[in-house]
Amino acid sequence: MNFHLSHLQAMLLFALLISIAFGFLSRRRPQDRVKYIAWSLLLFLLFGIGIGWAMYPFSR
């Protein structure tokens, strides 16, 4: 079995799974969990893509 995920796919999957785990770990009520997961996912993606763009000038 071989998964060939791209950078973006790997980041999306990682961010989603970790956000879900943190949401279930730190919040009790379902709506609080959904809010936490959504915020955490958004911040993961913002920081990930932001750091990616910040490295762009040094990539060549």
């Binding site: 060939h4 995920l5 790997a10 990682f14 799974l17 879900i20 785990a21 279930f24 770990l25 009790r28």
Partner: protein
């Protein structure tokens, strides 16, 4: 005399609670989510089982580096500790990753991180199950 012996042999409730909490923490480490399932926290149990399971499955499928006990340096030892955090899923990852690790590609390197994150996350979940059993967290 007999009564005193019987009273002394019975552990106090706090000690029993602590022993149960430790057992639940170990159960949660061995099988992700089991520590919460035994406390009837079904949502958390299912979430941890699935998240750790998917991370291990995808990480091994991406041919991430699954560290062994005979790692040469401190980083390999730390990686081994992190990978062992997945409990029984460590052997599942070994079973899936029949071709061995391949970190010459980016996805192999990502796989290594997926496996380590799964282990650390499961340790966190096991610690949560232990604390919940002690009544410190809900």
């Amino acid at each position: 005399m007999t009564d005193e012996t019987q009273i002394a042999a019975t552990p106090p409730p706090d000690a029993m609670r602590e022993a149960r909490a430790i057992a639940l923490g170990i159960a949660g480490w061995l099988v992700p989510g089991l520590g919460h399932a035994l406390q009837k926290m079904w949502g958390r149990a299912l979430a941890f089982f699935l998240v750790v399971g998917v991370l291990v499955f995808v990480g091994a499928g991406m041919r991430g580096n699954l560290f062994n006990s005979d790692g040469g340096d401190a980083f390999a030892s730390l990686g081994y500790v992190a990978d062992l955090g997945t409990g029984s899923f460590y052997w599942l990852a070994k079973y899936i990753e029949v071709g061995g690790p391949d970190v010459s590609h980016a996805y192999g390197d990502y796989g290594t991180r997926f496996l380590a994150a799964a282990g650390v996350l499961n340790l966190l979940a096991a610690l949560h199950a232990y604390e919940a059993a002690r009544g410190r967290k809900a």
